[in-house]
């Protein structure tokens, strides 16, 4: 029996769940001043989060 197909969004969800510290850091950065959010306000935090997610997305 073939393994059930994993939806891409499920893999993304699993990867995000493995990066709680980075995710929280990004959330804190956005929420810290949420009346004044603009493009790339938290770019550095996001890049750290993205790198972490991509690292975990790679392992299938």
């Amino acid at each position: 029996m073939p393994a059930p197909k994993i939806r891409p969004v499920d893999r993304l969800a699993q990867a995000v769940a493995k990066c709680p510290a980075e995710s929280t850091a990004y959330g804190k950065c956005i929420v810290a001043d949420f009346h004044n959010v603009h493009k790339d306000k938290c770019l550095s935090e996001f890049q750290v989060l993205q790198a972490c997610i991509q690292k975990h997305m790679g392992k299938r």
Binding site: L12, A13, S23, G27, D40, Q50
Partner: protein, 403 residues
Amino acid sequence: MSPCTLPFRIRTHWGVAAQPIRQCRARLVSPHCSFRRHLAVAADAQNLGKNDSNRSNPAGHPQGGTGSFQIFDREVKKLQRDRAALKVEESRKVDYLRDEVANRLVERLYDINRNYDHVLDLGAGACHLARALHKPHPPSGPFADRIKHLTCVELSSNYLTRDEDSYIMPPTSSMRLTRMARDEETVLFNPPSKGGELESNTFDAVISSGSLQWINDLPSVLASINRVLKPDSPFLCAMFGGDTLYELRTSLQLVNMDRLGGVSPHVSPLADVRDMGGLLQRTGFKLITVDVDDIIVDYLDVFALLKDLQAMGEANAILGRRKGLAGISKETLMGLDGVYRELHGRPEDGGSGDGTGIPATFRIIYMIGWKEGTGQQQPLKRGSGDVNLKEVLGGEGQDFGKK
């Protein structure tokens, strides 16, 4: 019987106590009482890894009613529900919300001491209301005993026929169930003489649970409901409105501002409580009762919430939404969970979660309106009062305006 003899239970706007609805996936916590005034939202669970760029332009779809304002794409809504209902097990797993809303609506039906020959369920989903009607209710027995014939109307035929009759009601039930896969926005609009299907003054009651939030032209649909009702018959409705999913809306806005530099309508504008009272009045209903319940469901993470919404067929169907793969962009999805948790995940931030899951608020507006009929309770004429309000309220009267 005139409705004036029927006692309506009085409810506060924070509603009745919540009951646990599903043991593992969702936990209901007590409804919160804060009153926020955001325009409310419905979620964009759409495009989670799906491409819908092959869809036709919705502007060409036949639209119902007379209204010129089109907000929702009914054709896409139908596709979403058709698609969601194909995965029967998945779809049944997310019945918890609709079942809860339907059960609470049936509770209100018990407040009206009547029997019904023919009832219309508008926007029936997978006949959730029919199932709720068959729930045992000691000592009086299930409400379905009081209904002879229930007609279920639903936009998506897949969704409507998802469950066998045996799943919905026991074989001993005396209620007749008819399914009609029609667009609830247009089906009631015309009488048969003008090419429609349903005669005026046909139904002894119209009920609707968790569906009217996707109607483009609510006034014309409400007026049509009034048309098909027999005189002095009730219309009972539960719809998502007000602050529904405000947590998701605000988080999506913030992340989209940061990642994309702007916001996109992932969340639909929903009717507010006060709007609905006015609308019912405008469309000719009498003896209107409107009240609100908040159901707060805790989810493991934001992906669980989005997937459940998609499985319910409640994904984004706003005409102006971002289409294709970019529905919610991948970058937005990456950052969304962290922001949602920070903003709403903990009690000290005004959220109702305990820090492990995320809360999602569903605000349900319950409405009861009666079609005008003889023998109905009427308001007294202006100026006919013989008691001075000053005496009743106490004080000098002029203080009253200052408060």
